[in-house]
């Protein structure tokens, strides 16, 4: 197994873990962390699988940098919303059922 493939497999594992975390966890901070884990997984796949003969590909590096900026922005927005929700309701979880009406 080449190092690139190893990176990609770890990345895929992280992505699945993070994705299930976003879906299943209740605590909002943990969900935000899970989202970051998911993003890091995708970045690892991007960097790992694009290596040819152990030489890093500059295009993927640029993509991952852009991706990190997007992930930071999304995390900041999520944290701001969670903090505001905590101030209003004192809870760090979303209510069970979506109120349909």
């Amino acid at each position: 197994m080449t190092s690139g493939l190893l990176f990609a497999c770890v990345g895929a594992g992280l992505f699945v873990m993070g994705g299930s975390g976003v879906l299943l966890l209740k605590h909002l901070l943990r969900r935000i962390l899970a989202f970051n884990l998911m993003g890091s997984g995708a970045f690892l796949v991007l960097v790992g699988m694009a290596q040819r003969h152990g030489i890093a590909d500059p295009v993927t590096q640029a993509m991952v940098l852009t991706g990190i900026v997007v992930a930071v922005a999304a995390t900041a927005l999520a944290l701001a919303l969670v903090r505001h929700l905590y101030r209003l309701s004192g809870k760090l979880e979303l209510p069970e059922a979506a109120d349909d009406d």
């Binding site: 989202f35 998911m38 993003g39 295009v59 927005l77 919303l81």
Partner: protein
Amino acid sequence: MMIDLAVWLILLPLIWASLAFMAGPGRGARLAIPALGLQLLLVLLLAGTVSESGAIGLAVGGWGAPLGIDLAADGLSVAMLLLTQVIALPLAIYARSYFQVKAPEGRYFWPLCGFLLAGLNGLYLSADLFNLYVTLELVGLAAVALVAADGGSRQLVAALRYLFATLLGSGSYLLAVALIYAAYGTVSMATLAPVITAEAPFVVWLAGGLMLVGLMIKTALFPFHFWLPPAHGGASAPVSALLSALVVKASFYLLLRLWLGPFAGLTASAGLLGWLPATLGALAIFWGSCQAIRAQRIKMLIAYSTVAQLGYLFLIFPLLTSEAALRAGIMQAFAHGLAKAAMFMAAGVLIKATGQDRVDSLAGAAQQLPLTMFAFGLAGVTLTGLPPSAGFLAKWLLIEAAIGQGAWSIAVVVLVGGLLAAGYVFRVLRQGFLLVPAIAADAPSFHPVPRTLEWMALLLAAASALLGLRGVELMELVALGGAA
């Protein structure tokens, strides 16, 4: 010249959004409205250029792929750009008077609206998969912030649900982009289209599946629609109109573009694949319509109607071998975009005037607010699909394509869906028109509302109802540059 047009369509909203942010809370309308007019002009010029010389592409700053960013515009993207600006301008005029009355809700509307439009225009003009990811995230984050900007805990919960759904969707899309890049060493859609064939390795199929699921979550296709009704129904009226009319169309456009472009080799070889989105679309039509018929609050009714109407967009996927299906999809996107914006705007007027948002409290609305109820009715005509509206044309094209290919089930779904739509539209109209208000003492009181609000809702509703008469020009535009 054409280079400038495409770039300025992205730069202009970014500029006025930033200026609006610097000007402070609640300000920026005076800048945004002329800028949106200019954007509309730019799109019309771009449409002229594309219809003269076919699809155009350009490398921003002269860098070119792979390190630079390529933009491209063909008939399909110009049509979507046109829809975006045509709705955005009247919506901005509406929002200006709406937020003057109820200022705190609109503190950050203008900057966020500008960033959202910049993201949408960028998405329609992008030529590579990664740039599409970035614009998709821009649109998603701006939309979530708009939902939350209202500030109540109900809106915050809706915004957080929306945020997690949209992040999950774009996360799977990003992983798919990584897999595609690993397999082919490029993310340019034009380069990928000829090389992805039915014999593609497993990772490419996996990538296609991830993109399909991710974009279905973002378009709120049944059963991923859970985030949409609270987010669209809970936000203030201009925001609901923006989200329901434009934002969900962006991920639909992307799915269509991928389906017909880079992944055409895969989708053509797996003919049954198109029935997955179509089946979910049919379920969305039934589920969304039934929930809309049962809804107590008027904005929830309209939001569930969005879930249903999005279903029609996905019915075209098994039929895409014929050009007519694509036309039906774009016509439905226009019909729903215009009508749903008008409907949310009319609902905003009704809520402002009656001070509450229950369907039952609309008695006598037609006497007090005839223009608004007329706008709601016209938009309802489009959603139900009565002639000569754009909705009628969309359904006609769709049924024609379905029968032409022997897919009778789709034709039946379209017809039943129209009846169900009539069910929820007439629930509102019945309250508004037929019930005479009770004795003056406990009759609902109507507050005066700015006339601009009513006229803008009517303008978009009339556009949706009359577009059916000018459908040919639009269809010619879509066919230009061949999306396939």
